[in-house]
Amino acid sequence: MVAPGGAVALAAAGRVTLHAFDVAEHRTVDRLARELAGEPIDILLNAAGLAGHEPQAFGLVDYSDWLAVLQVNVMGPLKMAESFVDHVEASERRTIAILSSRMGSIHETPGGYYPYSSSKAAVNMVGRSLAADLDARDITVVMLNPGPVAAATDRGGLSATASVAQLRAVIERLTPADSGSFLNYDGSACPW
């Protein structure tokens, strides 16, 4: 469990509340869902993810780390959907968004990074399955590629601020017809 202390400043405005939990510890997911029982959640945004340890190259793969990556990146969003589906269904927007990655596009994969890339391909399947399974409850599920977000010191990448602004715009524009799709931060479709 990670203490949410780093985000304390954000909470100062009052509308942001901090909740400690770990998507890989399903008891804590259920506990949080119970704590928030009765609260409609318009957008459930699954941003928690692991990149996995380096190296991830052929012959050097750390399989226990790979399983940990899958636990968070693949099973995490499924567990979140299972635990929070009632909250989302009770809201107006009824949207579940999962941060995936272009590295999860099997069509476009640059190679290597077996744990991370397989986890993102896998969560695309989870999201697309959820879209089908939750269609009857009018819940829209999308997978989003945030783009090549760079650390502040890198050149040429997308800043986190710009990526998030664009992702939010994509989420704002979603309609039920978009459910089950994999969208880039600019709103274009990303191939499976």
Partner: protein
Amino acid sequence: METVLITGANRGLGLEFVRQYNAAGWRVFACCREPTGAAARDLNMLAGTSGRRVTVHRLDVANHAQVDQLALSLKREAIDVLINNAGVQGPNEDFGKTDYKRFAQTLAINVLAPMKVAEAFAGHLAASRRKVLATISSRMGSIGLTTGDTAIAYRTSKAAANMVAKNLAGLLGPLGITVLALSPGWVKTDMGGANAPLDVPTSVAAVRAIVARATAAESGKFFHYDGTDLPW
């Protein structure tokens, strides 16, 4: 003599791969979890009448030390075709009741194990003439075609296995190794059930034909048993 290594070789598609490659005169390394148990009786009978072309090897693909040990004991052997066939169906609960422990086991066997086997046996493949690494995937692993509803762990594991195969194709291409993700169709096995439209010999013959004609140009692709391309 051409050589094939098959995982999960004691029943279903795996056992039929052993039968057909044996009948075609290949040398077969048939691998299964419990080679001495009742579940391997048919395989052992086949091996016993094969004139030593079929040998049975203990291999639990989730046991990576055992994978390494087998690769070491076969280190002088060139392997023309390796079929990552061992797999599990996984849990199949309704939404809201997912068994995550079994979900994780499904990923370990259907996704991580084919990678581990590839890591351990790439050298054996590179030393052979045909150099084909085939992972038995499933049409159910097509993200584009999925309609949800059932077997989310299985479908998810096969989508992830497809990513692994695609990445392996890029990496192993320079060694001349062709990597394929193959859907055997819906087959009458323990996994597929009695309602499946395809019988086991038909599916395996079709998959073998794809493997036999595969060239570097097909590496990194996902084929249905009938030879058509499947979308990711």
